[in-house]
Symmetry: D2
Subunit: 136 residues, 4 copies
């Protein structure tokens, strides 16, 4: 059974690494979610741009909300991420959308954009869908 | 010109997001690097396992050292990561190894293992190789 | 300069492996293309379903048209493909759409659907954009 | 139960698309396989180089043998392929090796090399492992 936006927001408040990374869930619904990450110097890599790991974390968090929105546990299996543009300051915005699902897996696309609405990264995530009820 | 292990360690000390994530560079050389991440509750996701973003960040950091070890700037273009086993506590260990490179791109494989030497994730990273000298 | 649909169709008629695989280009324009593959027993693998290689070939062909539509040479660099549903008979339909491009790479998404409009595979393709005029 | 090399060779003789593509299985064993593809003009794309689809098919075939070698049915779920060097004539050689497996998935790496032993492509394939006995 699909979870309500409130239940998803409450459940994903427990994500400690997302919290460490300044990530905030904005909206959530069946097969979809949006989130933002306010950039801070602690997001930077040695070259002074936002770390690929921080961008991935924002995308992965949004993906996790979307693929767990149906109320049964789903875990990331395989992800492909393409980096199109570097980021340094401002805010990054993530939008996750379910592309397709079957009894065993779900496929999601997550776009990360900057304040200029330019595509920073595109994330294609495959989740394994367990039978268990989401323990959130 | 390949950078020395000392120069790479000094340069990558500036990686703020790796520092935030408890990541420590262990060894570095031409086309290769190893690093570790001591797990802490702030690495966990809402389900209580280590966040995919934290695992990716460890792999991506190790990849960045390996692909920048030749002294010219290289940036992540496209990464595929497969998650094989969940982690909760202990330490995660990353090993990055160059598979091939040409004038424009370099290909790297990063393995993430846990304390039992089980494969937690495998990361295949493609870097775009610029002509610029590494600004570290 | 973007090529016309006629020029793209004429140029891609020379694709021998697409011809061997029964692939037909349907439409083409700036950053986009559609194609179909009429299934035949020679597309099957040892298990009696359409070979992942045939599905990839259909997607890759459509991607090649879309990423070369701007008139300069583009070559596949890295592709991620997720298989969602098996196919056996009928026709497979491919739609490629540019997601983003910059001076060095272009990113494309290709959907492969069956006659029931179910998603058979999703293909995320990254092309390296050369400066050369397309030799077609 | 692992299948013998003879049983795998006999079973995969039924792969029609591999046959169409001139692919020959060379060796096979638990979690591993090697194959070759003798290049012919029908493997070429519109630009006169070997089609990415043909290279993928060779890798995917070798992966299929390796992931089905344990005697239970395994199907491709998600693949990432990186293209490092173009090919035109001669023979392409594929080597698939299991990286890790658990109850639900198996992870394989396939290298495609040309006659000069240069890496043409690297393929990271994730297979879903069913409970069914291999119907070969």
């Amino acid at each position: 059974m699909n979870l309500s936006e409130d239940a998803l927001k409450r459940g994903f408040k427990k994500d400690r690494y997302a919290e460490l990374s300044n990530i905030e869930l904005l909206t959530a619904g069946p097969g979809r979610a949006t989130a933002k990450m306010s950039l801070h110097p602690h997001h930077l890599n040695a070259l002074g741009t936002v770390h690929g790991g921080a961008i991935f974390t924002l995308a992965d968090f949004t993906f996790a909300v979307a693929c767990n929105s149906h109320g049964t546990l789903a875990v990331a299996l395989d992800v492909s991420i393409v980096f199109m543009k570097a980021a340094i300051t401002g805010t990054l915005w993530a939008t996750a959308q379910e592309q397709s699902k079957n009894f065993k897996v779900g496929l999601y696309l997550v776009e990360i954009k900057d304040d200029a609405s330019d595509l920073v990264a595109q994330f294609q995530g495959l989740a394994y869908r367990k039978k268990d009820k989401l323990p959130l």
